[in-house]
């Protein structure tokens, strides 16, 4: 059953320890000045891109970085400027793509992976063992390193927390050129943590600013099938939606709602709520039972780079919203859906961000505490009535956050909209920031490309905890990024 050699956890796994004295001996690695950009495709950066094939390569890149530091980068799914470093070095870590060990027998089972392995690859490798990646973001095309650095969340945040909650240990290449293995500390409070414990939690959600994650041990869940039993409900407006989620979410492991952000009037905020759980073998159709762990992820090709700006306009956005709402049943219980249907409908086509044309788009995701439902609804109304059009809108209830100082999820409501870049968008987003700050909420850094340093400080009150750890491990700020410079981290 165990196809991978069981290896000891930690960093004797193809991860040479390199002392600072040895750094000088590393040969320079190839690099080129290229334009890179986030998934939103707005505000790219010219950066020296280093293809990293080994930890030694990464150390060599650290050595050769002049002045503007280095930024680790995975599959480039951060929407904004988190994984770009204009004028400096950007480390492409996607070639660190080995799955090093799977411990199926342990409880929970674990996998040891290099940081550049994508969730897509990992899911495909683990499913035959009946193992499941516990937290799946909106796309499988993210690396494990990126998932940890952004502390991504999924539809099951209210029951399972964010990705960082499931990391048992990680190997971090720190600015001094050494690789440190950091194990999740047992303690439940920041004050009780030692230096390594704090560095562990600061690296989670740390946006790559404490060093480069090169490997990790992730705890897994077990599944009998690769299917989900899904209940779908249409909700007539936002109050209806929020009420239903508040009442019923705890009965499901996975819950998320799409809502219509275009239609105004009495249908404003109509939504489709989908909630589900992993399907058990006995729940499958006989045909599905023949291959219950089949990874069903069809791809219908790649979106070509031919679309102009304003493809998302009043007409297309209205038509899409109408279609998406109408195609959902009024109320349906127990439908069996595969992975792509349930988690990643957008992954059916590659490079879908090209649909937004050359100007690109931004994704605005914020969270506000549960005791601020009015702010939440006001933000929602501001978006719908702004004239800016968003088709892919997601609403979810978060569960408790974790110890990471810069992790995004907090107990409360979160809402995400995709907005094409157009004149006036900055004013809408700035106005939303103000509401969110006023309610004690925050926006998600992995999606941000426009927040000001001032607002960021107001949204992340534990910034000082972050800075104390980061300044200790990286006093020269060798690890930096355009996001870090913009937010003055």
């Amino acid at each position: 059953m165990n196809a991978f050699p069981a290896a000891p956890l930690g960093n004797d796994l193809d991860l040479p320890h390199i002392r600072p004295s040895e750094i000088e001996q590393q040969p320079p690695i190839p690099q080129r000045l290229v334009e890179i950009h986030g998934w939103g495709r707005a505000a790219g950066a010219m950066s020296h891109l280093h293809g990293i094939e080994s930890v030694a390569d990464a150390v060599s890149a650290l050595r050769s970085s002049a002045g503007r530091g280095v930024t680790p980068r995975g599959l480039g799914r951060s929407y904004g400027d988190a994984a770009q470093n204009s004028g400096g070095a950007t480390l492409d870590l996607t070639h660190l793509d080995k799955i090093l060990a799977v411990d199926v027998a342990a409880e929970p089972a674990t996998v040891t992976v290099q940081a550049g392995v994508s969730i897509d690859t990992l899911m495909k490798a683990l499913l035959p063992f009946g193992l499941w990646v516990p937290v799946l973001p909106g796309t499988r095309q993210v690396t494990i390193g990126g998932a940890i650095a952004a502390d991504v969340h999924g539809k099951n945040h209210h029951t399972q927390g964010s990705f960082g909650n499931h990391v048992r240990s990680l190997d971090l290449l720190t600015p001094d050129g050494s690789v440190r293995t950091l194990t999740r500390p047992a303690g439940g409070s920041w004050e009780g943590l030692d230096d390594d414990g704090r560095l562990f939690w600061t690296t989670i959600g740390g946006m790559g600013l404490t060093g480069a994650i090169v490997a990790a041990v992730v705890e897994l869940q077990r599944v009998e099938t690769a299917y989900f039993t899904v209940d779908t409900d249409r909700c007539s407006d936002i109050d209806d939606l929020m009420a239903r989620m508040s009442e019923g979410d705890e009965d499901y492991n996975y819950s998320v709602a799409w809502f219509d952000a275009v239609t105004r009037g009495k249908h404003m905020g109509r939504a489709v709520l989908t909630r589900g759980d992993k399907a058990r073998l006995s729940q499958l159709e006989p045909k599905q039972r023949r291959d219950p762990l089949k990874f069903a992820a069809p791809s219908f090709g790649t979106i070509p780079e031919v679309f102009p700006n304003r493809m998302v306009n009043k007409l297309t956005a209205k038509a899409f919203s109408e279609f998406w709402y109408r195609k959902a049943p009024q109320h349906r219980v127990g439908e069996l859906q595969n992975i792509t249907q349930f988690f990643h409908p957008l992954d059916i086509v590659a490079e879908w961000n090209r649909l937004y044309g050359p100007n690109g788009f931004l994704q605005y995701q914020f969270a506000v505490p549960f005791d601020e439902p009015e702010t939440f609804k006001r933000c929602f109304e501001m978006i719908v009535t702004s004239g800016h059009l968003s088709c892919l809108n997601v609403l979810k209830r978060f569960g408790p956050g974790n110890l990471s100082p810069l992790s995004f999820p907090m107990p409360g409501w979160t809402l995400t909209v995709d907005l094409p870049i157009e004149a006036g968008l900055d004013r809408l987003c700035d106005a939303l920031d103000e509401e969110v700050v006023g309610a004690g909420g925050r926006v998600y850094l992995a999606k941000d490309s426009r927040l000001t340093a001032q607002r960021f400080r107001q949204m992340y009150p534990r910034l000082d905890d972050f800075l104390s750890v980061r300044n200790a491990v990286d006093p020269q700020h060798l690890f930096s990024s355009d996001l870090a410079r913009r937010l003055e981290i």
């Binding site: 000045l33 505000a43 002045g67 904004g80 000001t452």
Partner: protein, 264 residues
């Protein structure tokens, strides 16, 4: 990794996704147009502004105004005619971090009739309007190239597009200025740094106080509006107001005997 969106010779900037910079350098920090641009960007809050200008009441007042708008303001000394001081000016301008947008706004209109008959005055115009912008432009480009992002906004003038008898010393300096910054924009392609050349017509400002208003006159605010939009739209050359482009395009081709008879 997602493939690059554009060929790599297209440049980028740290200006955020919605077109707003977080830091602004004004070379000529008391210029009406430069301050109008700063006010526009300042609406957002949290803007860092470096005011490079001669020390004095006007700079102090400008700094106070921008601070009042919520900007973090740093004042830096700039003396256009003291070339030896330029390197220190640029160094100081970048002391607190990257510059997203740098506006080259200083200039001198001078007295047109005096300028072509008084060698000292002519030299002053040539130094302030051409030599200094070139010298500072090279130093600025070097810094921006190192950070691999940023936009230089060069406030040119239609006076340089076809130089007229009525103010040809000024016009000739602006012709050189315009050519230098257009060329700099070409040279910087592929580095992440962009140059926007702005050619306003007659602007009602303290520079033109007491002069008769010309047709298609613009206010500093209108120039600022057009500039901010052009930065966001990644433009390389604009005229303010827009019809000025076609007027100048026509004037460029008017034969000399006829041109000298025009009341320009």
């Amino acid at each position: 990794m997602a493939p690059p969106r554009r060929p790599s010779d297209e440049s980028s900037s740290l200006i955020n996704a919605t077109g707003n910079p977080s830091s602004l350098l004004l070379l000529g920090g008391t210029s009406d147009i430069a301050l109008a641009i700063a006010r526009k960007y300042a609406r957002r809050g949290g803007l860092r502004v470096v005011l490079a200008a001669r020390p004095g009441e006007r700079r102090t007042a400008a700094a106070a105004e921008l601070s009042g708008l919520g900007c973090r303001v740093a004042e830096v000394d700039l003396d256009a005619r003291d070339h030896a001081s330029h390197a220190a000016t640029i160094e100081a301008a970048f002391a607190e971090g990257d510059i997203d947008v740098a506006v080259v706004a200083f200039g001198l209109l001078g007295d047109a009739e005096q300028a072509w008959q008084d060698a000292e005055h002519a030299l002053e115009l040539a130094e302030v309007n051409y030599a200094a912008p070139v010298h500072l432009g090279v130093l600025l480009a070097e810094r921006l190239k190192a950070q691999a992002h940023g936009v230089i906004v060069a406030l040119s003038s239609v006076a340089g597009e076809r130089v007229r008898r009525s103010n040809f010393v000024y016009g000739s300096t602006k012709a050189g200025f315009d050519g230098f910054y257009l060329g700099l924009g070409e040279a910087l392609r592929g580095t992440g740094v962009r140059v926007l050349v702005v050619r306003p017509g007659f602007v009602k400002s303290k520079m033109t106080d007491g002069l008769d208003e010309a047709p298609l006159a613009a206010t500093p605010e209108e120039v600022a509006d057009a500039t901010v939009d052009a930065v966001a739209a990644r433009r390389e050359l604009i005229w303010v107001p827009v019809p000025m482009r076609f007027v100048m395009s026509g004037l460029r081709h008017v034969p000399r005997p006829l041109f000298r008879k025009l009341p320009l």
